[in-house]
Amino acid sequence: MAKTSRICHILLRFLAFSATLSAVIVMVSSHERATFFNVSFEAKYTTSPALKYFVIANSVVTVYGFLVLFLPAESLLWRLVVAMDMVLTMLLISSLSAALAIAQVAKQGNNSAAWLPICGSVPKFCNHITGSLIASFIGVIIYMILLLHSIHSVLDPLLLKKT
C-alpha cells in the first residue's frame, strides 16, 4: 500500500513538473510583431513585469519539482519538502494571479483608465499566454493536492518510519 501511494505521489509530482515546465516554455516562446498607425511593436513576455515574475516563479518551481523527483523515500529531507512545498505553492499561486490580472486587462481593457485591449492586434500572442496560464493553473491544482497529501503523510507516522 505504501508502494502504490509512493508511485501515485511520484506520478503527481512528475505531472506538476511537466505542467510548470510547459507553462515556462510556452510563455517564453510567445512573441508577435504587430504594426498599427506606422508604429510596429513586438509583444513579448519581457514587456510586462508581471509576466516576467510569472516566468521566474514557474521556472523556480520547475527546478524544485525536478529535484524532488529524485528524493529517496526514507530521507529525512521530507520535512523540508513539506515546508518548501507550502512556500513554493504560495509563490506559484501569486504569480498565476498576477499574470491573470495583466492578461484580463490585455483582453478587455480598462475603460476608466483609458487602457485599450491589445488582444485584437496580437491574437497569437494572447492565445499563447492563455495556453501558458492554463498549464500553470493545472500545475497549481496538482501542487495544492500534493501539499495536502504531504501534510497528511507527515502527520501519519506510518509513512515516515523506516519499515
Binding site: 499561486i93 486587462v105 483608465a113 501534510i151 507527515v154 502527520l155
Partner: protein
C-alpha cells in the same frame, strides 16, 4: 484509627487525579489576532479607496471646461478580487480565533486540528492570489506599460495610489503572518500526534 487513615488515604488518592487540560497557546492566538487585524484593515482601506479630481479638458474662449474624473477600486477587477479575498481570509481568521477561545469542548482533537491545517492552507492560497493580482495592477497603474500604450494613472491620482499601496502592505503583512500561523498549527498537530 488505622481504618480511618486508610479511608483518608483512598479519598485523597481519588481526589488527586491530575486533570490534563491542554495548555492554551497564547503565541498562536495573538498571531492570529494580528493577522485578523491586518487583513481586515486591508479590506476596509481598499474598499473605501476613491478619489475624484477635476481635469481641464478643453478651453472655450477663456473659460476652461473641467470634467471630474473618479478613480474607484471597482473599476479594476483585480482590486475587487483583492477586497473579496481579504474579506474571506479575515472571516476565516475570526472563525479560527473563536474556535481557539471557545473550542475546548471538542473531544476529537485529531480531526479538529487536521481541519484547521487544511483550512489554513486554503486561506493561505486565497490570500496570496489576491495579493498577487492587486500588486500586478498597482504596478501597472504606477509605471504604465509603454509597449501596450497604457498610461500610468498614479501621477494624476496620488492619494488613490498611496491608499491602495497601504492596503497592499497590510495585506502582505497578513499573508506572512498567516504563513507563520499555518506552520505553527501544523507543528502543533505533529506534536499532538506523536504523544
Amino acid at each position: 484509627m488505622a481504618s480511618g487513615n486508610e479511608e483518608q488515604k483512598i479519598e485523597s488518592g481519588s481526589n488527586v487525579v491530575p486533570q490534563t487540560k491542554p495548555k492554551k497557546d497564547w503565541i498562536l492566538l495573538s498571531l492570529r489576532v494580528v493577522t485578523f487585524f491586518a487583513t481586515v484593515s486591508a479590506t476596509i482601506v481598499m474598499s473605501l479607496n476613491k478619489q475624484t479630481k477635476n481635469f481641464v479638458v478643453a478651453t472655450i474662449g477663456t473659460t476652461p471646461i473641467t470634467v471630474p474624473l473618479t478613480a474607484k477600486f471597482q473599476h479594476t477587477p483585480a482590486f475587487v478580487y483583492f477586497v473579496v479575498a481579504n474579506g474571506i481570509v479575515s472571516v476565516h481568521n475570526l472563525v479560527m480565533i473563536a474556535m481557539d477561545i471557545l473550542g475546548h469542548k471538542f473531544h476529537n482533537r485529531g480531526l479538529q486540528l487536521a481541519l484547521i491545517a487544511v483550512l489554513d492552507t486554503m486561506a493561505l492560497a486565497l490570500a496570496s492570489s489576491g495579493d498577487g493580482a492587486a500588486t500586478a495592477m498597482a504596478e501597472l497603474g504606477r509605471n504604465g506599460n509603454s509597449h501596450a500604450k497604457w498610461n500610468k494613472i498614479c501621477d494624476n491620482f496620488e492619494a488613490y495610489c498611496n491608499r491602495g499601496g497601504g492596503a497592499l502592505i497590510a495585506s502582505f503583512i497578513g499573508l506572512i503572518l498567516l504563513l507563520i500561523v499555518t506552520v505553527m498549527s501544523i507543528n502543533k498537530l505533529l506534536k499532538l500526534n506523536r504523544n
